[in-house]
Symmetry: D2
């Protein structure tokens, strides 16, 4: 049975590439539907009109994508069930026949413009930067003749019938964007042995609070791979932290950290456990493995029953 997924459109974006990549790992066939905005894509998941949505979470260059972060933090809860890493390269797309020297205006999303600013200043010093809703929207505007050129994903050339007047014009040639597949809360994917657990921490504005929370991870040998702050939106100086940690909800050490964070009212939200796609996580130290937990818990339980044999 075909499942429908929403993704941030239009067609021809890095997000569509990610959706395509993620759908190959889906158990059944997937029908992809572009959504006009990230909130619209997530609304479709929440109201059940699609089974899942693919959205960008963070970029190795620009940092986290605020709208996605804010939806995950403040919106109706969703779970991350998979991730995909897509290399981000920018081509300067023009209509066939347009000379590079004829380009007077280049459109892109502000993130895209930030990426190609240096190239434009060097190669097209006179060209004007035009802010667009997305890089693909810029490509569409080029196709429609409203704009000379777009800085966009190579895939957009195919979608919009454009050609590359210059290739790989971004500042960073190893830039990567991380996309996630979001679903309504339910069973988390089974552990693979190389998983990430994501969560949002809420740390009160008291000296040492963040230290205490990070200590809960460190004392259980759990490695953090991402820690990003976001304002709580209620008061300047109050933050929540989006955290990625090595391990899975069913690992005793991870479950133990989650219990400790929840006891401290520091766990704003659990965001899911899912297979890591970029390399391997840190192995747990000996004192934090599942068997160390089991052996120690059995021993203390026996002591509680008066059995010290």
């Amino acid at each position: 049975m075909t499942e429908r997924w929403a993704y941030l459109g239009p067609e021809g974006t890095f997000t569509e590439q990610a959706a395509e990549l993620l759908s190959r790992r889906a158990p059944g066939p997937v029908e992809r539907r572009p959504a006009p905005t990230v909130p619209a894509a997530l609304r479709a998941v929440r109201d059940g009109s699609v089974g899942a949505a693919v959205v960008a979470l963070e970029s190795s260059v620009e940092g986290s994508v605020p709208v996605t972060q804010d939806e995950l933090i403040h919106g109706e809860p969703l779970l991350i069930t998979a991730e995909a890493h897509v290399p981000v390269t920018f081509d300067l797309l023009v209509r066939p026949g347009t000379e590079l020297s004829a380009v007077t205006a280049v459109g892109a999303h502000p993130h895209g413009l930030a990426q190609v600013r240096s190239w434009l200043e060097g190669q097209l010093p006179g060209a004007r930067a035009v802010v667009c809703e997305s890089n693909a929207a810029a490509a569409a505007a080029v196709a429609a003749g409203d704009l000379d050129a777009a800085a966009a994903a190579p895939v957009a050339a195919v979608t919009y019938g454009l050609v590359a007047a210059a290739a790989d014009i971004g500042e960073r040639h190893d830039a990567v964007t991380r996309f996630v597949l979001l679903r309504r809360p339910g069973p988390v994917p089974a552990p693979t042995g190389n998983d990430i657990t994501s969560m949002v921490l809420s740390v009160d504005n008291h000296p040492g609070s963040l230290l205490a929370v990070l200590t809960e991870f460190a004392s259980r040998g759990i490695n953090l791979t991402r820690l990003e702050s976001r304002p709580t939106r209620s008061r300047m100086g109050e933050y929540v932290f989006t955290v990625d940690a090595d391990g899975h909800l069913t690992d005793p050490a991870m479950a133990d950290v989650l219990v400790a964070l929840r006891r401290r009212s520091a766990l704003w939200r659990f965001l899911g456990s899912y297979a890591r796609q970029d390399g391997r996580g840190e192995p747990l130290p000996g004192f934090a493995t599942g068997s160390a937990y089991r052996e120690a818990r059995d021993a203390v339980r026996r002591w509680q029953l008066g059995d010290f044999s």
Copy 2:
């Protein structure tokens, strides 16, 4: 002698309000010049064409302003020498005579659009959101007849000859933006007894590194009021942290923390000490005051000389 300051223009923005506020605390007269972008404003400081620049650093709703953060982190070094907090309210600005019901498109910077999205969905469900370079640019477009309405600062109505079709339409009614005055590196402002020290920390990707760095602050009784992560731009999962702490570069406890961070290669950059404008910082605990430092250092120095009297 008049000093020239750059600020992110155009006229009629919250930034201009902040520049006006900051110039009242300046020692002499100030001439304000709008700059087209944050990088342009900062370039003017760096090349000496202006003495200082006023730019937004963070918003209580949207979090930090990426371009300012990235300039402070990665650009040629500048120092924060003052801050100002400006309440952020949005009016729906139209040309005199325009009816609210006639509005079909509303322009603003993406941050502004995010703020008024709920109001628009409720009051003008059919209106299209138009991404502009700034809220003031949207107001200018309204004045030029290119756009029906702009979500912008009340001050923009004066600048562009518009009127408010609706007032305070933002989601947050207590939203505040924090602006900073940036100068070329030089003498830091004298301590006032209620100061902030800002810096950028670089924490390597090793479990416990952030914990060790935060411990350097906590063990010297120094309170952190802001901790924001930014990607290093070199590798996914590597971050620097922009930190605000209570205290001044000339406080022994703060100087001691800076020495410790520098020894650990964790101090990416010192960003300045300057008077706090929103309430009071945490007082230092007894073991971290200037006199505690002086007494203890004198004692240990005497011991090193063999004097245990």
Copy 3:
């Protein structure tokens, strides 16, 4: 049915006082039997010839009693099931008719001699200090005519037919000795709401190991009331630590600490949970109470089953 208890004799010691005190809290009648040494008293417990033994654990003046500590650390395991605090006062006991001025030698255990040294130097500067096996043994020697005087517990006067030539001659007038009731491992006493849990920690010789172990207590809000080091006897510079902590084996927070210590191979030995006799322990912080543990564990268990309702 009468239970037999061993105590460090002879009769007329502080230990007998403690045994009398503890037996009043016993569920049934107790028959007290003096043992010649602490190891002998404990051997009687281990081989089943008595049900329990009463021995001194520590003094507020002299610190821990090494032989008891070493038996608890290195001997066949025993559990502390109760404690008693006995004020320690010394009288100078002589045979009836002996003048103070006629005293030329005063006997006591080295601990007792240390306590009365100042008094002797001031009041009997010519008197010789004689090391005895115990203060009571010194009293017995006085009774037998082998010694002029003994520094001993007031109770010893009754036992040995002596009189006090001077009262309360110890250096510390508020000195207290803490005695414990030891049994073979078995069910621990039920929690009373004001309990101590004792244990021995083994901390390897690695910088930060003790810090990591103490962090396990602190992060679970558990207060330590005693931390004493003892050499491991295998290598200079290696220690075990005898620890008393507020709480009971059946408290989730305490059980959680014990599990963590055992996982770290830092729990050399659990020594028992029993009612505190000197004041009240620290209450657990909100994040470490039984209900905080139950609520958080239930939540995480539900998540593991895919239930996020």
Copy 4:
């Protein structure tokens, strides 16, 4: 010019061996004088009748020597200026001609008796243990014909004209006692590159206090090699800690720790810096070396002067 040193006599003890060893490292000739007790030896230093005293500080088997610890903690201040490690072996010393089978009573200091208890139970099950002031005093009693045998240092045989009826009868064959040379406070010995700094810490009875103090060492990369608790003598449950750490008072990292401890009122007493005699201490991590301190302090001092070049 000859300097006089006191040591805990009588002659023929391990202490005399240590004194002999230490005097070989003295700059000039040394005349050794036995003192009857540790306090007497230290009184002679304090009143200037000798230049230094040699006393036992701790044993690898029995732990610290309480009287020495208490003098260092509570007595008029003295500094440790050197240490010596002496292997501790026990021989069973008898008068020439005495058969092992004829021995009915064996004398020694309680520490010595503890060491040979197992051997006596196995080889001389009928022999009585006799508590003496010191092992050498027991040997003297054997020489005087008041006792059959003494468990004492091999050197005592020479001093008292005895012979060994059995050699190396102690429980631990690798036992070592650590002796220290104590002087009145004055210039500390110059650093050798492999030094120990000793001190007494006073940690208030507040959860987390010891943790905070240990963190001061750990965050400066200073390795602790000894941490022993002693009661404060004022209240049960209050302790001071005798600490040995790798490094010298003139190392910036060590001086920095001492300043931090003194600021926290956690430094009860500095006890000296002196050359380590058993192996090498841990090298400082890169962030704690003298050059790391100098470079970082210079930088922060320049910033305070407005120099960011």
